[in-house]
């Protein structure tokens, strides 16, 4: 079996989950030393699946070993990156996979309290998660003295309330503390000063859900499923103009072309592919000529884009790229927390310009202005939301410049979208 997550889909109740072998990995982890667990995760080349791709084992090792402050695990279930729905699947179809992973992570780092920060819109899923957690408590897999050791762990579900920025780890922490979701300046990092300024690990739902199989089969097994420096499989959420939108678990390193054409059925109505956003709207767009690319963290970065959350949005030739630009810029302007000058002031500016271009009111110089604004935001903000807003703008202006220029010149959308 070389799948990590999807085989567990459908085992929603704890008895079904246990019957399939669930909670064995957690039991095994608690019989290992915490450092051994961290080693295994390091060997697995597991990298954060929320979008940033930071090596998980390394992140865990930043947490100080001895401390008289409590440590926390925050599971990032805020899933706001447009195009992404993988965490929803995991929590809907296999919540215990997440809980088991949380037990493993908490044991490894020395954490006794974990919060699942779930986006407010997933209210029903939050209830299902709470039910699953109750089931785990009743079996003694959570609470005091897990698996007969003296390890205690409590997990609580905490709902967000409609803010994409709260998917950023320090904004998530601020939100958990009952405040506005304003990201914090780093350093210090959550590993040393996180929730309540105590050592905290923030991990994505999918990342945590990989842990049971890493412990059960070993880190090397997991690493071998993928490619160098991107271990394991990845859940790819494919949507847009494909015949079969949905969730696909494939090994790291699969080609984007294969994902779109072999798994997601190719373009709907047999139209032509025009563009692909490979890792959520924050990732630079790829043209139809650029899809022979390996879907792993490093290859994507080398190609000038990013794997991100693995949310693949496919666009065919009915798509107006000026409209895409308008939708994306409008999103980031709406979600900017407003703390720092470049993002707060720059994102709505870009949105206004993109709106004009898309509706035939663009002016000469608008495209270069957009690129300049985006470059002024990049690398100058408190958190990566600024970068996430800037990168797609630069990419679309770069790769689809002619189409944008046509909008400006003709004062209308050539695809007659408007």
């Amino acid at each position: 079996m070389n799948l990590v997550i999807t085989p567990w889909f459908g085992r929603v109740r704890i008895d079904e989950y246990i019957k399939g072998g669930g909670y064995e990995a957690a039991r095994k982890a608690l019989s290992m030393k915490p450092e051994e667990v961290i080693e295994e995760v390091k060997k697995s080349n597991l990298r954060g699946r929320g979008g940033a791709g930071f090596p998980t084992g390394v992140k865990w090792s930043f947490v100080p070993k001895e401390t008289n402050r409590p440590k926390y695990l925050c599971i990032n279930a805020d899933e706001g990156e447009p195009g992404t729905f993988k965490d929803r699947y995991i929590m809907e179809k296999s919540p215990h996979l997440l809980i088991e992973g949380a037990i493993i992570a908490s044991w490894a780092v020395g954490i006794n309290t974990a919060y699942i920060y779930i986006r407010g819109e997933y209210a029903k899923i939050a209830l299902a998660l709470e039910r699953a957690i109750e089931e785990a408590y009743s079996k003694g897999f959570l609470g005091k003295g897990i698996f007969g050791t003296d390890f205690n762990l409590d997990i609580y579900v905490h709902r967000g309330a409609g803010a994409y920025v709260c998917g950023e780890e320090t904004a998530l922490i601020e939100s958990l503390e009952g405040k506005r979701g304003n990201p914090r300046i780093r350093p210090p990092f959550p590993a040393t000063h996180g929730l309540y300024y105590c050592p905290t690990v923030v991990n994505n739902v999918e990342t945590i859900s990989c842990l049971p199989s890493i412990i059960r089969e070993g880190g090397e097994w997991f690493a071998a499923l993928g490619v160098e420096r991107s271990g394991g499989t990845k859940l790819f959420a494919v949507s847009g103009h494909v015949k079969n939108p949905g969730l696909y678990e494939l090994p790291m390193g699969v080609s984007l072309r294969e994902l779109i054409y072999n798994h997601a059925g190719g373009i709907r109505e047999n139209r032509r592919l025009k563009a692909v956003i490979p890792g959520g709207t924050s990732s630079p767009v790829l043209t139809a000529e650029e899809i022979d690319i390996s879907l792993d963290f490093d290859s994507m970065m080398k190609a000038g884009t990013m794997l991100g959350s693995g949310a693949v949005i496919v666009m065919d030739d009915t798509t107006c790229m000026a409209h895409v630009l308008r939708v994306i810029t409008r999103f980031y302007a709406h979600e900017s927390c407003g703390q720092c000058t470049p993002c707060r002031q720059g994102t709505p500016w870009m949105a206004k310009i993109a709106e004009r271009i898309a509706t035939g009111r663009g002016r000469k110089g608008d495209i270069d202005l957009l690129i300049d604004i985006a470059n002024s935001i990049m690398g100058k903000t408190i958190c990566p939301l600024g970068d996430a807003a800037a990168m797609p703008v630069i990419a679309i202006c770069d790769k689809f410049r002619a189409e944008l220029e046509e909008h400006i010149r003709e004062k209308r959308c050539p695809i007659e979208r408007e």
């Binding site: 986006r119 407010g120 819109e121 309330a161 409609g162 405040k179 939108p245 798509t319 939708v327 999103f331």
Partner: protein, 156 residues
């Protein structure tokens, strides 16, 4: 002084045990009380503030930051249609206009009978079902005007 049912107070009291300080419970408490009151106005904010030993300013800061909190009465069914990329690529803009015409209200408004409030939202995390809308806690995907008619019909 805004009323809170005993059941809800018990829920809140249990909730407070989840966190080392009361303020952390703010978002959860706001969700619970919005369920009960329908919305959170200044009076509600003061009540919440006294429950959690924080200042009303702190509560108002949070209520106005997050999009899911309503500050005045809204409809029984809150229709939230996604306007982000995949949904837009698959026609959510047209469906929004359909809803506007059908309900005779614009975005942010409520029908006169108090039944429906129309909103646009960003990505709901259900893009494989695009175009998607959320009504209260339910997701509805693969929408067409006919499907929308059917769904709204079924809402009492």
């Amino acid at each position: 002084m805004k009323e809170i049912s005993r059941e809800t107070m018990e829920k809140i009291e249990k909730l407070l045990t989840h966190y080392p300080n009361k303020r952390s419970a703010l978002l959860e408490v706001l969700h619970i009380l919005q369920n009960e009151w329908g919305f959170i106005d200044e009076e509600g904010e003061e009540r919440v503030a006294s429950l959690l030993d924080i200042s009303p300013v702190d509560v108002h800061e949070v209520v106005t930051f997050y999009t899911m909190f309503y500050r005045s009465q809204v409809g029984k069914y809150k229709i939230k249609i996604c306007r982000n990329l995949t949904c837009s690529l698959l026609g959510s803009d047209t469906l929004l206009n359909y809803l506007r015409k059908k309900l005779k209200i614009d975005v942010g408004e409520t029908t006169l009978d108090g039944k429906f409030t129309l909103e646009t939202v960003e990505c709901l995390g259900a893009c494989e079902l695009a175009p998607v809308m959320q009504i209260n806690e339910e997701f509805y995907g693969r929408l067409t005007p006919e499907k929308i008619d059917e769904i709204l019909e079924g809402l009492k």
